[in-house]
Symmetry: D2
């Protein structure tokens, strides 16, 4: 999976300046970035003052299987998307096959599943079943295209394990909301049970947040990973 | 495909009352529904006063292939969703196969495609390719489940042509925005090129709008099918 | 202040049905409302599964001073508004004057203010200052209207303490988000410091939530009053 | 009124790259900016493909009277705000008084008002009434503060003509939606009747759009000033 930061306008100072408009009005713009900003950002996070975190922007380019994109696009507020279209473009034969390290067995009940490593046999079946099904799907897709059937019809047979690509733009508030639901972390005040594959994408996003807005990320981490 | 209206709180009078708050304040509540409401609704639609159309609510239960759900869920503002989960539930083997009437050939360029009927040969290939690929996918899915591989892993191989089900809640404004993009109609001021399958769903939604809010629907139709 | 529930399509069963689509697909519609729903709703609230709470709708008619409406309208996601317009309508001379019970003194620092009762002298000054300023404003407003100056210009002089009226439509998720920020409650996991006047409105809204969706409200209360 | 662009991540190429993800997938990133982008942007605008315009970000600092801010904050989707707080900060005595050039007389009916110049007498009354009311309000405000009454109570008497300041962040799509409703222009396909003061702010915003995204602005202008 690919997570590339395409562009951004996002730094901790943006949060501090926006927050200070409340208390200083127009003077907020002329204050200096200072060590106190760290305390201010922590206070905003702790008491759930979310709006100052919205004056930032991240644009990512992401490649992931369709089943990941499906979960991703459920995030509506503060997110914008443009995705590769199976109507306008012939898709590429890149498919997701779980690696050896991917736990295959699910125990527990809905909403609280845990995962355990698969046996060698289970991995064998998984590899085999994925490949056979993917090949059959790809063959059927190409055959239909070959005889002149439209892309938007032919793609019906393609699996949710095929890769898609998309642009996603968010702000630091909507990004933290995403992270709170799509990562599992012992520092989290609320439990989450994200599917492992979207969590891998989420971690890529989180790296960029931590790099570009270190105080914001630290405050997120120290206050239970709850989006403000 | 299935489009069932589960519940609603939506009538033309809601629009009129909300609009009259602007001009009458609290007295708006005590006005009577009248013939003049039709003119008011038409005026709101024509001049793009959208907010009065938001004080309404429709909840639909929809069954459609994943590729339709994918386009549907791109609508963010004024829409809420809950979908059947391939993580929590074994999916059912119900797949979409284009019927004889479904045009198969696409001519034109991106953003302005038109569709023409497929030949008998193309339909033959389409039927065959769909069935073979769907069967291979289902067999691989069941085989993985059988040996104890988690649902969220096994489903990777399932095609976007398999059916899913979801609840969708919207208001008459967000519904009209959906209709303006997902239907093709000669009365439309702006061209749209929806995929035929989502258009079928859209028509189901539109029937309910026309039934429950006839003046709103008429105004939508008479003003170029642009959401206000 | 006035908080009237105009109409609604909101009950606990809506939440349960929407949530069950995840695990049961279309069968969700045919399940019965049962005692287990209470546990399901509590689980959804606790683990922050928010979307099932969105398939509900409340429309309120509210009368409150402009300074309350200003805070109210900051809530964007899941809220729709139509407000009395000072451009289209001559406003009515109804003004907010703090009653004897309204604490007048503020101690502490931004983000964590507490309020203490005003002295008799402070209340005297408050009453007097409000009345004098309101009368001057109203006189200036009427004088301008009298000589033919437009409403939208004349209203400049009207204070934020004058009453306005509006329709507001939300769902139970956006309503709980509002309540979590606009009420102060010892059961709340996160502190809030709402202004007393908007809290009064919020309590009116909360009464309707508790009445119409008792299990949802109970779960909200028992899980720290955090919107899911 | 003040409209300062604080920061931005917005250029025409952002729109073109995002749109090309649909047709090129990941290769979109490696295409060159070219003259063809202008045609692509015009096509997207004309056929109302809105999402590619969302991968951009503008943050403005704005000073305007409260009655302007009230209209501004009605824009919810794609807008973020932080405003100077009358609870946390003593406001400054800066008030809006209509200048000689401000038309004072309103003719026509709701939704279609036109404005005509005021007479010398009307301007005299306007100037006088504004000043008297503003002075009375300010005096009452300061008197209450002086005796220790909280800012959030004292401000009740302040008029909607007093200046406030705020940060507003948007993208080019939400900005164009704002402009389509808050400016009047003979090129507009749909009529708008914005209040003159918010139109002045809108023009400031539009200048920055035209400067930073000239092809987008040109397409907006040439396609009837309808937000895509």
């Amino acid at each position: 999976m690919t997570v590339d930061l395409i562009k951004h306008a996002a730094e901790d100072a943006d949060v501090a300046f926006a927050a200070r408009v409340s208390t200083l009005g127009g003077e907020a713009r002329f204050t200096e970035v200072s060590k106190k900003d760290s305390g201010l950002i922590n206070f905003l996070m702790r008491d759930r003052h979310g709006s100052p975190f919205e004056h930032t922007s991240f644009t990512f380019y992401i490649e992931a299987p369709i089943f990941v994109a499906r979960e991703f696009f459920r995030h509506r507020a503060g997110w914008s998307y443009n995705e590769e279209s199976g109507r306008y473009k012939e898709l590429s034969p890149v498919f997701y096959v779980p690696a050896k390290g991917r736990p295959l067995r699910q125990v527990g009940k809905p909403g609280a599943y845990r995962f355990k490593p698969g046996s060698a046999f289970q991995h064998f079946i998984s590899q085999h079943a994925h490949k056979v099904a993917y090949k059959a799907a790809w063959f059927a897709y190409k055959a239909m295209l070959k005889v002149g059937i439209a892309r938007e019809v032919s793609r019906n047979v393609l699996p949710v394990g095929i890769y898609t690509s998309f642009y996603a733009t968010c702000n630091s508030r909507s990004l933290m909301h995403f992270l709170s639901l799509r990562t599992q972390d012992e520092k989290a005040k609320f439990p989450s049970f994200p599917q492992r594959e979207i969590e891998a994408v989420a971690k890529g996003l989180e790296d960029d947040l931590a790099l570009l807005m270190p105080e914001t990320w630290k405050a997120f981490q120290n206050n239970g990973r709850v989006a403000p």
